[in-house]
């Protein structure tokens, strides 16, 4: 039991607290901008290729009859 706890302690100490905090902050900011803007960041309306369904902004819903 004691060994188990001590090994866990060693593992945790390897992760820098600052790195964890930075990763959490960045992940939150990414989710924030995706939700505040659009799935494609600022709202991509597609690439030149109409068949390239990037972020689904160019998905042809009209011709699919889903609109």
């Amino acid at each position: 039991m004691f060994k188990l706890f001590s090994s866990k302690k060693v593992f945790l100490s390897r992760v820098d607290n600052r790195v964890v905090r930075l990763v959490v902050t960045l992940t939150s900011l990414i989710l924030f901008v995706l939700a505040a803007g659009a799935p494609c960041g600022l709202g991509g309306i597609g690439m030149n290729d109409p068949n390239f369904c990037y972020c689904d902004w160019t998905c042809n819903r009209i011709s699919e009859g889903k609109a």
Binding site: L29, L31, A36, G37, C55, D56, R61
Partner: protein, 199 residues
């Protein structure tokens, strides 16, 4: 995608600035992160996940968009003391206003779509654009047209995109937040003076 690019710019610039100043890079800690998760999850279901986005009726989208934007506004308000969150909040508020005044959709005009070479077979006036938050509305029928998705990138950039003034403020706010490293600088100088006093 461009807002993600803003995060990368802010992160790289902030890190390099901290390196030059010889202090650790540590952006301010954010609180109430669960609000962001609560806002991002429904949007993931209506925009990205094929199984759900095809089943959720377009009639529900305005309620989901306004509800999730409100949650984000609350998140910004609760973190208002964080650097540049006033700018983030202003951008969000502008988007929220124009969406609210246009029945819960972000308006995009046929002119903007044509300028971005989006085929006319891909949109219809009065219909949702793809699986997006945008609704194609004529300029004359748009409330607060100036705040809608009217801005585009220069022609020489191959990425086709339309964005709003609110999005620009959001991007600037994110960059400002990530470059700002005052907390780490203050902590470093505090430690420095403490060491000086002790010696």
């Amino acid at each position: 995608m461009i807002l993600i690019f803003a995060i990368v710019i802010g992160l790289v610039t902030g890190y390099l600035k901290a390196k030059l100043e010889g202090i650790p890079y540590r952006p301010d800690e954010l609180r109430f992160l669960w609000l962001v998760l609560m806002a991002a999850l429904p949007q993931f279901l209506i925009y990205s996940l094929p199984i759900t986005r095809e089943r959720i009726s377009d009639q529900w989208i305005p309620f989901i968009i306004i509800g999730t934007q409100f949650m984000l506004l609350l998140f910004v308000w609760l973190n208002r003391k964080s650097p540049f969150f006033w700018l983030l909040g202003l951008g969000l508020l502008l988007n929220f206003t124009v969406i609210s005044l246009n029945a819960g959709w972000m308006p995009i005009s046929p002119d903007t779509l044509e300028s971005q070479n989006v085929l006319t077979s891909q949109w219809e006036i009065g219909s949702r654009l793809g699986y997006s938050k945008d609704l194609v509305i004529a300029k004359e029928s748009t409330n607060l047209w100036i705040l809608s998705d009217i801005l585009t990138l220069p022609k020489w950039i191959p990425y086709r995109v339309a964005f709003s003034v609110g999005d620009v403020l959001l991007a600037l706010g994110v960059i400002g937040f990530l470059i700002h490293n005052k907390q780490a600088a203050q902590e470093t100088s505090k430690i420095y003076f403490q060491e000086k006093l002790e010696s």
